[in-house]
Symmetry: C2
Subunit: 319 residues, 2 copies
């Protein structure tokens, strides 16, 4: 009989501080997002018992869910407090921005918790320790080498998801990220949305089920079953955009797999994520990016020291 | 090898209509919620390549996630587009409001889709058909008998989750709902937050995993592993509130189980849901409701015709 996990989750995470009735002592992050999200005032209807007003619940504090938006130099992150993962990251890269500025070095960056997220909802450094998963960047570090600060920001845990290391994060996924950077050779602007997914699969009994691991102690950080990228190419002299979306399993992928195997319709990605994608762009202004460029990875042997560093970092680095 | 479900999800759900660049043709629902959710304008920093601005992605349309808030007579619902379930429902009941008004009859109510939700994110009547699950109310129908309109509103699918019928929805859960109504005998106002949860359990290999079924064709509606209720009692002459939260498995529960077995700390519920609960109320103003009243169900034999009607409805009613 599997052990249920309700009370366990609470251990060590109770952190009620000094709140005051009606004072609205919400965090800065919350002010930015969900507090503005209240509906228009409700006018009770005549057949209502006079005292009934379900919106009065908000006087105890609007429950959320909150989406913590963080605007960084190279990306914006939107954080999912229930799964302790990003909902999505959007990036903007250009052929200039992906160049390395002298002195900017990944080795100077360290993973760090995002203190804008309340502790009880934060993904923590310790959650990843000995989990067997890499601390996988959604916005890749290599996309932000134009400044040390921009690079450092990619190491905030609000940009990080648990990823399978060997065969995925350190291999196929890295080649896929490289493909996105190469697109700057063809388009003036590349905008990339990256995020985790939790997809159902058909089981032996014919039913569909979502199943994913949760890491940490207590276990709070979801291990996504898949990751998506929505890639948009845009040229300065055009009112059209070129679009391709991809969904890859968070698993070992053979370098022989063509990237197009993982291309999916944008609508499928909307259905899987619950997000609305590119809805302001009329259909006739959207072209299939993979019909304009060869959507393929180039397998490069990454320098052994980089791969070693990532492996060591994942296994032994408690910070 | 389980069949993955990405492309399948897209079938029959592609519904791009006439969008226009920059015209912001968002639905009424969206206007109400997420569009106001954008962060303050970002001032590019000096070491940024001049053209990089990740927030430019929003010109294609802000991706969300959107929380669709619907304010009804007896409850407010907040809808989760990814799981096609409520995030939560908040209700307000009083000893007057739970009385039946003459002529108000559950048999006059029908389940109906919530047309405020875009079709591609909507839970559909057909998703529940022959799923083996009841269309379970989060805000119970029996809490809204003061008017036919209020009662009808509880049948919107944005208030509905797939629930195990026999042994849960039609039994223990119904007795639990009855317990909440009985609390109006003790408190002037009862406010109830109800919602689904997707909780991890420890598996044979020692790891924690979340696993839940997804129903519909294509499968899009999540079957929650658990349901919670946060119950708040308040008296007109007091600045204190009485609080208890409960988490019950979406499964057969013995009527012999004491209700207190399912009581959990509010902080545990926050951790499990990602929601912030009652944060405007200082700790010393919150009392344990189960220390003031006997938190127990009373098992009543529901009239056979009601239970039969629910069973028939679940199994045969295609609408």
């Amino acid at each position: 009989m599997p052990k249920l996990l309700v009370n366990t989750v609470a251990i060590g995470t109770v952190g009620i501080t000094s709140y005051f009735w009606g004072l609205g002592s919400k965090s800065k992050t919350q002010e930015k997002s969900e507090t503005k999200n209240l509906p228009v005032p409700y006018t009770p209807k005549s057949n209502l018992p006079s005292s009934v007003n379900p919106q009065d619940f908000y006087k105890y504090g609007f429950p959320g869910p909150i989406h913590d938006l963080q605007t960084r130099q190279e990306f914006v992150s939107c954080y999912d407090r229930a799964k302790r993962n990003p909902y999505w990251i959007v990036e903007h890269i250009t052929r200039d921005s992906i160049k390395s500025t002298q002195g900017v070095d990944r080795k100077k960056s360290v993973f760090r918790e995002d203190e804008q997220i309340p502790v009880k909802f934060r993904n923590r450094l310790r959650d990843f320790f000995r989990s067997g998963y890499d601390r996988g960047h959604n916005a890749p570090a290599a996309d932000a080498k134009f400044s040390q600060e921009a690079l450092n920001e990619t190491f905030y845990l609000t940009n990080i998801s648990p990823q399978v290391g060997e065969g995925f994060n350190r291999d196929y996924w890295a080649h896929f990220e490289d493909f996105c950077r190469r697109l700057t050779g063809k388009y003036d602007h590349i905008r990339i949305m990256t995020g985790p997914l939790y997809l159902p699969k058909q089981c032996a009994d014919g039913k569909y089920r979502v199943e994913y691991e949760v890491i940490g102690s207590p276990p709070t950080v979801a291990v996504p079953t898949h990751f998506f990228k929505l890639v948009v190419g845009e040229n300065n002299n055009s009112d059209q955009i070129s679009v391709a979306s991809f969904v890859l399993p968070n698993d070992v992928i053979s370098n022989d797999d063509p990237l197009t195997k993982y291309q999916v319709p944008v609508e499928a990605l909307e259905n899987a994520s619950g997000l609305e994608l590119l809805y302001k762009v009329p259909p006739n202004k959207k072209k299939d990016l993979c019909k304009e460029v060869r959507c393929e990875i180039i397998v490069r042997e990454f320098p052994k020291n980089v791969n070693n560093a990532m492996a060591i970092s994942a296994k032994f680095d408690k910070a």
